[in-house]
Symmetry: D2
Subunit: 339 residues, 4 copies
């Protein structure tokens, strides 16, 4: 079997504008278990959107961007449902930026022979394939961007802004999250940026220029994100998966306090995850637990225990068709940070 | 807080005819993870429906009937998508028959104070409440039906048929699964029938008539179910949760073999579950594992790892609107068994 | 590859007497998460044992008996830690009775090629293999026992007692749970008895003798089990997995109430499970939820979220070496029921 | 209720030297499911230890250090079972360094009233409590260390080395992982270092010295870690939880390749996790999946699906008492990196 045979059917990203989930979510509100949780989460997201002063943080962990939800996040930004993003490096670089460069994810099998895949340089994410040769083009593009920047310490946000600028000139797919966020001044933070394809490019960059190079300063990331929270005051979290992004955004409340600025807890919070809270890891910890840390209010919070690709399209389609986002405007936090 | 305050908002069962999930499922087919699994499962269900010789078994375990999916199962039967049902006693008696008698399930909280609920005689299923006083009416109705039957050993199917007959005269809600199945000759089997509200009623029945009473004969159930499989030959399984129903229907293939009749494995199989296959329990065992037992073919099989209330409405709405069921006719297995 | 190559290494059942987990459990008591839960569960089991009036019910669901814990249950009975058992049919017939007949379970692989296994008539339970030809001997032995019984309706307990009697004469492995319970008058109930290898044998029995045969009466099971609870008053549950056994034993409290006898809730309860409580199924429902139904007291209850083979040996070894069971005596509930 | 009442019982860390799990693990090897997986994982860990050329990476994610396993990791290092560590910031700073400063974790309840905890400045991790006032001392100590360093970009490893140096002078508890690793030249990497208590201290540091301050350079971390892999060649991974540490260490193989150095995949790999592989997240992805990426060999790999506190003490006690580590010597990778 040659490589082509494995990489035949591309993942296509769902478009929540193309169908209307209103009647489904309305029905789920009067059901039980995950369906009701999904409806409640939807209502909380919409409530964030209607609360005019509220800054909405989207956090991304896991592989939903590879798995067909990439356009969901883009459309959330374009339709002013999101003001800032905190994500894993993989979501932003290996998945979104990667597709912006013209590459694709492919439908695969979760029971594939991994040795055979390895022989073809095909990487597997559960039931989804990636061409590793293409991923290396992505790594090298990161290196190229880094090579052209003035040496110094950048927040991941600043570096991702440069990636957005690069895409305005070179992208093959125009509608990437990185580019759309760049164009609408929605900052993207990756607190563990190097834990991704970007890491490879940046290591190569420093390896080739051991004296004069750029570094990524995650302290700066934390400070910038905290500045947004301090200025925004009212905030809501819409979290896909857990991981570092979930912890990082929640910690801004404590960080502000440490800097002597009294800010309210995040007033709204939704998390979609399959993680199990019983191991004490942050990814899976309940939002009620987060309230003990003073991070999240418990009035409007909802955990949805589901694999996100199955419920996220319903939630966002509902909110889109509800239309309350039309009265919002872009908060343009990038401008505030770049001042 | 008085009891009424807890039992204020009723669970309303979702109607898959009232919305059309076609475009959502079509989109999910090109995504990853649970969304794609959901689409594949949908396609397999529809394939069973299009295969004219195929008998479709619906199995029910868990509390989805209480949690808002009760009408889904009724509508599947009414629209000829199901030919026989294997279920837990609770699904059929405590939930479906219970609502047929005019009672309701209520929206509750998964973090309720259970002691307080107990004080009010309110039973909790995760985030759903039941009035225990009403459940006792249900128990007693079972007893009444048993009291009027001729003493002897009945299969659970035969007893549930009598429940259906009872409902044709006394039901407050006409559209119950028990009654609709009765009227369309769709047999319902509960291999662990007494592990439910029915158990209470039947124990009381035997307690009051220690000499002359009815018994439930689960061996007869197994024989009847196997007879259907032997006659049907081609079969598909649509399984909500695992438990005894899943095991029981799968075992009919082996049972037929034991009786000297060579039958094919179940040719189609879908299971929706949140269970974890790593503990070796049947509920969670994969359909591939079942194929080692000679129970299920692996060409058209799909596990969907999701809480059923969140994906079942999408799957069934798609199949409903696809309309292939229109060419099917009722197989009326009850008539065959009652001959 | 021939069949022998697959069936080479047998599962050996762990012997909790052969090592002493005391210091491990003592350490776990001061840790967090599953380790502490394990220690608390251990302490509750020991508390049941020390409470002299307390009847201890062991419930078994899942495949831990096949997976190396068979001797644990036998040794619990022999050392007077268990007074009655409620189990799935598979635990008792396909696993325990099966090994009593001289057969074995084998170490296998969870990623085996199931088609290949099927070709060799090898059944797989996750990573464990069974020789299906041997399982059919087990089915036929059940048939033989049934053939020799006086026609009529038997509780599963009564039938399993006959299996025990059979083993006293014919067993190849003396130390089976069925035989040891028979010899010590510990009743075993399988509320879904036919959902197992027993089902095959009993169907064949009825098929061959359509007029004069035995039936299994699960109503009688429920009544007998409730009688124990009514007489015992104080009771504790030690539950491996969930399923029908968990529900059935919990329901005895309600059943007694229905019969007009006021009994206390089960005062102690431990459950070891990997199930996820968020789907509303009974298997996974928390013991706090059960208290809303009036089934289980919440003072001494503990869920342990773990695959049982990993923690059960630690729990039972601790209790064994603690030695409080030495002051207990056999309650011999079988004698009470057979009167 | 005052704060003291909540913080009464401290978590005590298990000492794997104080008991001998040899006979338990030996028994588990012939069982099924998680018990056998645990034994296989133990054998693989011991195999890494016996392979003299092999560098062993320990990765830590989740809260096992808070939950009673802190001494396990310390003792692994002291007994030469670990050559380098990749961890979440929380494991190293909020938990280990925190206790080194003389503070404690406390036994709590997973069903606590989080609002009440919040009022007392008590942070909850599932069933474990932390005094937030003490955590702020920890934050400030980090700031103090940063304030005294020469401005510039440090890898997290370099900064943690300074923390170790600080502890040699100021620690209240001598046996911390940070100090023991410092003293034995075992490098610790936190690729998302600022996502922890360290983040607060470092933000304060930069806030107070906007012009001249230190930054953490995660690119440097990745390069240093890759240098170890390139030099070590043979390597094994012992992973507690998933998260960034798991991904980061696996990626060193790819990173080396990018730098033009051909290194073998990690030859040994064990992961203990409760995560569910079906959502496509890295934390939960199987090691077989990692082999498709060219990261991990599949000859000696084992996933153990368990909450780590329950099985880790058994695994490490076995390896400790086996004694093969006695023939190893400290690899002192810190010295190599500091050259």
């Amino acid at each position: 079997m040659n490589k082509k045979k494995f990489l035949r059917e591309t993942i296509k990203h769902i478009d929540f504008k193309s169908f209307d989930s209103t009647s489904i979510i309305d029905a789920m509100r009067d059901m039980s278990f995950t369906s009701r949780d999904t409806a409640v989460a939807t209502d909380i997201l919409n409530r964030m959107i209607k609360d005019k002063g509220c800054t909405i943080f989207l956090t991304l962990a896991g592989s939903t961007s590879a798995g067909g939800c990439m356009q969901v996040y883009v459309d959330m930004v374009k339709n002013k449902m999101v003001d800032a993003i905190v994500a894993t490096g993989a979501s932003i670089v290996d998945m979104d930026f990667f597709e912006a460069l013209g590459f694709k994810h492919y439908k695969g099998s979760s029971t594939a022979n991994d040795k055979e895949l390895r022989d073809h340089y095909i990487d597997r994410i559960y039931d989804t394939y990636i061409d590793e040769d293409e991923l290396q083009v992505c790594d090298n593009t990161i290196k190229k961007i880094a090579d052209e920047l003035k040496p110094g310490a950048y927040s991941s946000r600043e570096f991702i802004r440069e990636m957005g600028l690069y895409l305005t000139k070179h992208s093959k797919k125009k509608d990437s999250l990185v580019q759309v966020c760049f164009e609408n001044n929605v900052p993207i933070f990756c607190p563990a940026f190097t834990d991704s394809s970007a890491g490879f490019g940046l290591v190569k960059h420093q390896w080739d220029s051991p004296k004069k190079h750029i570094t990524i300063d995650p302290v700066k990331d934390f400070m910038e994100l905290t500045k947004i929270k301090m200025k925004a005051k009212t905030s809501g979290l819409f979290m896909i998966g857990g991981g570092v992004p979930k912890n990082f955004i929640q910690d801004t409340v404590i960080c502000a306090e440490m800097l002597g600025v009294d800010v309210p807890m995040h007033q709204y919070a939704v998390q979609i995850t399959v993680a199990d809270p019983r191991d004490g890891a942050c990814s899976s910890s309940t939002l009620k637990e987060a309230s003990s840390w003073g991070k999240v209010e418990t009035i409007y919070e909802q955990m949805v225990y589901a694999e996100a690709t199955s419920v996220l399209p319903l939630i966002t389609s509902y909110v889109y068709h509800k239309g309350d986002w039309k009265k919002r405007k872009f908060q343009e936090w990038s401008k505030y940070l770049d001042k």
